[in-house]
Every structure is written in C-alpha cells, then in structure tokens.
C-alpha cells in the first residue's frame, strides 16, 4: 500500500538523523532552574494570584469610603458652627492694630484641624470681623 511505503520511506530517512545533544551550558542552565526560580513559600498562603487583585480591592474600598463618607447622614459638614458667635468674638478680639488681628486669626487657624478650617473661616466672616472693619 502506498501509505505504508511512504511511512517506511520516511522512517528510513529519519534513521540517518541523530538526536541533537544538549550542550553542557544548556544542561547547567536547566539544572540551576530550581535554584534560580525557587518556590516562594509566601505563595502558599497568599490568596491573590496577581498583585493587581489586592490593589483593585483596596481601590474599590477607598472609593466606597470616599463616596459613602460624603453622602451618609451625620458624617458631612454640619450647619452648626463649631464655635459660637460669642466664642469667636472672644477668640478673635479685635485690636486697634490690624496686624494683631491677623496674628489672632493665625493662632486660631493653627488650632483648628484641617477639616474645621473652612467652617471656622466662614463663621469668622459672618459676624464679628465685618463689624470691625472701618
């Protein structure tokens, strides 16, 4: 049969070829693969296969916190000023020198936390400071 003849012919042709011997350098490189690419023991308990997975989780958690922090009741800026008008007028006691007033304001601002800063300034702007301007 022709198929069989072709098969035998190719088998005979391949008998003239010898297997290629790997070089000593290749055998050395392959032998050092377990040493150079040692298994990381941390991988056995690390639940994430890739670094982007925990990163994505953290980013989603951050975004959720950011948006929920802005919209949930009782967590946003309150209408009530942190300092009453009287407390502010005492704290920001006007003097004859406008530089002194500025120093007082700086002191107040230094005491305020970053989140309270805008509200305090708004409260100051509402009442006493405007009355003191000539």
């Amino acid at each position: 049969m022709k198929e069989d003849r072709d098969r035998d012919f190719v088998t005979n042709a391949f008998s003239t070829l010898s297997p290629v011997e790997p070089s000593a350098a290749l055998m050395r490189k392959v032998a050092t693969i377990p040493l150079e690419h040692a298994r990381n023991e941390a991988q056995s308990f690390w639940p994430f296969k890739h670094l982007w997975q925990p990163s994505l989780g953290l980013a989603c958690a951050g975004l959720l916190g950011f948006f929920s922090g802005g919209y949930l009741p009782g967590t946003g800026p309150s209408d009530e000023p942190l300092l009453t008008q009287r407390e502010l007028s005492v704290a920001v006691q006007p003097t004859s020198d406008s530089d002194d007033l500025g120093d007082d304001l700086d002191g107040l601002l230094a005491l305020a936390t970053a989140s309270d800063l805008a509200w305090s300034l708004e409260a100051v702007g509402d009442a006493p400071l405007e009355n003191q301007s000539p």
Binding site: E3, D6, R7, F9, V10, T11, A13, F14, S15, T16, L17, S18, P19, V20, E21, P22, S23, A25, L26, M27, K29, V30, A31, I33, P34, L35, H37, A38, R39
Partner: protein, 194 residues
Amino acid sequence: MTHPYLEDQALMDRIAQGDASAFRTLSQDHLQAIVTFVYRLLHNHAEAEDVAQETFLRAWTNAAKYQPQARVSTWLHAIARNLAIDHLRKRKTRGESLEIDDERDAAPLSGRPSQLLVRKQQALTVQEALLNLPERQRSAILLSHEQGHSNIEIAEILKISVEAVESLLSRGRRQLRVLLSDESDQVKDTRMSE
C-alpha cells in the same frame, strides 16, 4: 499495575512542591528529545537551546497545572512547540530565513570517512527536505517518526483532531518522499554530468 501517566503525575506533583531532584529526573529524561525536536523545527542550535531552556523553566513554574490526561512528554512537547512557533513568527517579522546548521545532523556511524561523508550528506538532504514542509506537517512528521508519539498524542500537541493528524502525516510523508526523490535525482544527475 501502575499507570504511566500516574507516574508522570507523581513526578510533576513533586516538582510542583519544589523538589529539585524530581526536576532533575524530568530534565534528564526529556531534555535531549526536546532539544532535538525544537532544533528540527528551528534549524538553529542557539535558538533551540533557548527554547528548550524556556520549556523546562515553564515546566518548573507550571508543574501544578500538569494534568495526567497525557504523558508529561506530550505536555513538554506542546510547550516547546508553542515557544518554537513564537520564534518562527519573530524570525518571519524580522525577515530572516531558515538556514541549516548541519554540524550535528548526521547519525554517528563508525566506519570509513567516505561512509561518514555520505551519511552526513543524507542527513543534510533529509533536513533540507523537512525545511520545505509546512510547519504543521513538519511537526507531525517529527513527533511521529522521530519522537515516537502516537497520533492521539500528536493531536493533543497540535490541538487538532486525530483525523487531521492522519491527514497531515499522510500529506507530509508523501511530500517528503517527493522532495527526497527529487534530491536524489538531482544528485544522480550531478554525478552523471561530472
């Protein structure tokens, strides 16, 4: 009676657990076959050794992914072939052609220098004929005739049906025979003209 695939799986399980001696066994058993197979596909020793090294690196890092549905040899040949095809594609984009490095092709044969020369010439002829086969036919022929894989295993390596493998082998053998006959006719013609 132990199933050969289960033996392969036990070996790969040990490699997956970081057993260097198991990996040494794997490389001793299969490195030469992989280098030979890749060399026949690429016809370049340096590239063949690079691909073989990468194949065993992947075997080490992906040992846990081995499934005992096929011999580990089949699995390694599939990895090697995919890497070799990547090399062929890169070579194609660079516009490089296949060149035969014929130093290691001839089977060792003790005998007169003239016999060795003839043997080397025959090996070179076969190698050149292989070079003219399409990659899939070449892979199928090599896996069947040189690497000793069954048609089912070749189908797994090439990711085609067994019928398609049979067709590839049939066409490949026929074409190889025609090519080698042409070569031998040309040699005869050359000798007669001399």
